[in-house]
């Protein structure tokens, strides 16, 4: 596959999903992650859950 180098595993995608909350991702990382998320419902769920987790923790003590 020509674009094989863009393919990442779910594990790698979830590392990027976490990392993007802590640092700015590189262009290649953004591209790989976007492509993965368009094809993967599981990681799309995790993406939303990670965002929710940040928001929920910020509410502790409020």
């Amino acid at each position: 596959m020509i674009f094989g180098w863009l393919k990442i595993t779910c594990r790698q995608a979830q590392v990027l999903l976490s990392d993007r909350q802590d640092r700015k991702l590189g262009m290649l990382e953004v591209l790989r992650l976007r492509l993965h998320l368009t094809a993967c419902d599981w990681c799309s769920r995790v993406a939303r859950q990670f965002r929710f987790l940040s928001d929920a923790v910020r509410r502790i003590g409020r």
Binding site: T9, Q14, S18, D22, R23, Q49, R59, I60, G61
Partner: protein, 190 residues
């Protein structure tokens, strides 16, 4: 609010503050110190605060500063724990390179924000953070609750940026799983 009811309101926050301090400092004495200092500062400046909800936000804000002060004071021990956790990170990293494709299906959490209206949810969330290894919980809370920048967390914990990202990732994966098991998988109807 008169002085007596204000003092009472501040004192009533103590258990909440202590639980939050404990999960980050993982040392009862340090947590007690941070909370006592918070309550003292709060009482000194409390007359400026009228509403109770505003009071809580303000007191929690003071606690955040006191926790950061406490990290600085006991920096050596905190960074040793982080270093021990970071040393395990490499083996973990190798481990998941080996089975990169296998993850189990995450549940659909529906509308997770609906959980905010339930007090028990925050209890479960804090329980999940408490169950993390100390260094992971600390890094995660520094990032998400104290809202520190990653560069500052690396500096406080004396770990590399890469290790810091890996620790945060591990914390999020575990918390996601914990919330799924303890809350979203068997959530009783509201």
């Amino acid at each position: 609010m008169d002085v007596a009811s204000l003092q009472r309101a501040v004192a009533e926050l103590r258990p909440t503050l202590l639980r939050i301090a404990r999960v980050q400092l993982r040392n009862d004495t340090w947590a007690e110190d941070a909370v006592s200092e918070t309550l003292i500062s709060a009482l000194e400046g409390a007359e400026r605060f009228g509403g109770q909800s505003q009071l809580k936000t303000w007191v929690v804000g003071i606690l955040k500063h006191k926790i950061i002060d406490q990290f600085r004071r006991c920096g050596r021990e905190v960074s040793l724990e982080a270093a021990a956790e970071a040393a395990q990170v490499e083996t973990f990293d190798e481990l998941y390179k080996a089975d990169g494709h296998r993850i189990s299906e995450p549940l659909d959490w529906g509308d997770p924000e609906a959980a905010y209206s339930r007090v028990q949810f925050f209890d479960v969330l804090q329980m999940c953070v408490e169950e993390l290894p100390a260094a992971l919980a600390r890094a995660f809370m520094m990032r998400e609750w104290l809202e520190l920048e990653t560069a500052q967390i690396c500096k406080e914990l004396e770990i590399s940026a890469t290790n810091c990202f890996v620790m945060l990732h591990r914390a999020r994966i575990r918390l996601r799983e914990c919330l799924e098991h303890r809350w979203f998988a068997g959530e009783p109807a509201p």
